[in-house]
């Protein structure tokens, strides 16, 4: 009986520690795809957006396995997430003693749209119209896949 309780308490403690250390990651790009496997060609599980929160489950070759708020599990390329740890236990009166840069920017204190607007008012004659046009150029993943295959690139270029 005593042993059982010890085991239970230890298990609970381990579980709690794991829970508290679970890394919460933030999506740092405008949008990205949660994929079934750690590769760009894998089927898409869900679309995720800037500032969305996910929990890290595992890591493999530049990819992280995560769980979303609605319990979807999949893989994200590590360049799409902010990896700075959020110290849950450090929260008290001051809310948090550590915050990532992204959190600060999300709170609206960064080089963002408003600052660009003020800069543009002072600097007329810059070509933002062409920048917008440039941003509209999109190469879809299926188009890129075809391009790689035709050009014997990527996995289609590796010696058999």
């Amino acid at each position: 009986m005593r042993k059982k309780i010890i085991v239970m308490a230890v298990a609970l403690l381990v579980g709690l520690i794991t829970f508290l250390l679970a890394e919460t990651l933030l999506i740092k790009v405008q949008s990205t795809s949660l994929r079934k496997r750690p590769e760009f060609y894998a089927p898409v599980v869900a679309k995720l957006y800037y500032g969305q929160k996910v929990t890290k489950l595992a890591e493999e070759g530049g990819w992280v396995q995560v769980r979303t708020d609605d319990c979807l599990v999949g893989w994200l390329h590590s360049s799409a997430v902010e990896t700075k740890k959020i110290r849950l236990l450090a929260m008290n009166q001051t809310l948090k003693t550590e915050a990532s840069s992204q959190e600060v920017a999300l709170a609206g204190k960064g080089f963002t749209k408003d600052l660009e607007k003020a800069f543009r008012e002072k600097n007329k004659g810059l070509n933002y119209a062409q920048v917008e046009k440039m941003l509209r150029i999109k190469v879809t993943l299926s188009e890129l896949k075809r391009f790689l295959r035709e050009g014997k690139l990527g996995e289609w270029g590796r010696p058999k």
Partner: protein
């Protein structure tokens, strides 16, 4: 002894209760933290103030610039470049250059950035290529003419993607200016329109953009950044299946170009191609396996680029 053993389970029971309690408190704490992260509009004044305090203490270098901020900085740098260099009006060619660029991006160390990478051909005979932060990459018609195949074009684009991936543009901002901007951003006064702090913030931002633009167009990056971008280019190209020797071919073509003595464009902002060539060749020699140039790629390159000659 007997009494002691009997009381032990109670101690553990109390321990368990305590652990559960701590768990519940932590859950509540997390909920609060998370809601702050995901819905900034719901921030209370107190929370906002504490975030500002954190901001002041935390942000001090280029590494603290977020992806979104990098994107906004890049937009203005790109708009400045495009005020000097007009874009080439050839959507077919633009599309092709973007496909080659994305092929390299996919195999780079930083495939995902805030708004993705975008490539544009500039209507200029000057031999030049530039990368603004946030993935705005430019290549001139003059430089395209120097390329003899798709792999050489991929080499130039991979070098530029390397600059973005390693954040060389952001690293060229003067540190004192960045610290000043972070300080102003964290001050409540700079949030009010018409305040002296806001005016100061805008002019500091102007200087930050000026640092990057001057580096891209006039001064050139630090030599060590150019070496790093060449090394990254070899890495990304090889992973993507392009022949890294195309970078050597490109540097050789650059060295023998008639524009080499002009001191314009890439010749002004980059180290001598001969010096880069030696370093790149050594890097390629160290690779276990090197992909070859595929005919099918050279053919499609000529389909798109032959009319430029």
């Amino acid at each position: 002894m007997n009494r002691k053993t009997k009381s032990l389970p109670r101690v553990f029971l109390a321990g368990v209760v305590l652990v559960v309690l701590a768990y519940l408190i932590a859950c509540a704490a997390m909920e609060k933290g998370v809601s702050v992260l995901t819905s900034p509009e719901k921030l209370s004044q107190k929370d906002k103030a504490s975030l500002l305090r954190v901001a002041k203490a935390l942000r001090s270098s280029f590494a603290d610039i977020t992806e979104e901020e990098e994107y906004y900085i890049g937009r203005s740098v790109a708009a400045t470049i495009l005020a000097t260099y007009p874009a080439l009006n050839n959507s077919r060619l633009t599309r092709y250059v973007n496909r080659v660029g994305q092929a390299v991006v996919l195999y780079s160390d930083r495939p995902e950035i805030f708004a993705g990478y975008h490539f544009l051909v500039l209507d200029s005979n000057e031999i030049n290529a530039m990368a603004a932060p946030g993935g705005f990459i430019f290549i001139t018609k003059g430089l395209l003419r120097l390329c003899r195949n798709e792999d050489m074009l991929a080499a130039v684009l991979a070098h530029e993607v390397g600059h973005v991936a390693a954040k060389h543009g952001l690293r060229s901002i003067k540190k004192s200016r960045l610290i000043e901007a972070f300080r102003l951003l964290a001050s409540e006064a700079a949030q009010r329109s018409g305040s002296a702090e806001l005016a100061k913030l805008v002019s500091t931002y102007e200087s930050i953009l000026g640092d990057i633009t001057a580096t891209l167009i006039e001064r050139g990056y630090d030599r060590k950044f150019e070496t790093e971008a060449d090394e990254l280019a070899v890495k990304f190209m090889t992973r993507a299946g392009y022949s890294p020797t195309a970078l050597s071919d490109f540097l050789a073509a650059l060295a023998s170009s008639a524009q080499a003595s002009s001191g314009k464009g890439w010749f002004k902002t980059h180290p001598a191609p001969e010096k880069r060539l030696a370093k790149v060749s050594a890097k390629i020699k160290a690779l276990p396996q090197v992909p070859a140039v595929a005919k099918v790629r050279t053919q499609r390159f000529h389909q798109y680029c032959s009319r430029l000659k």
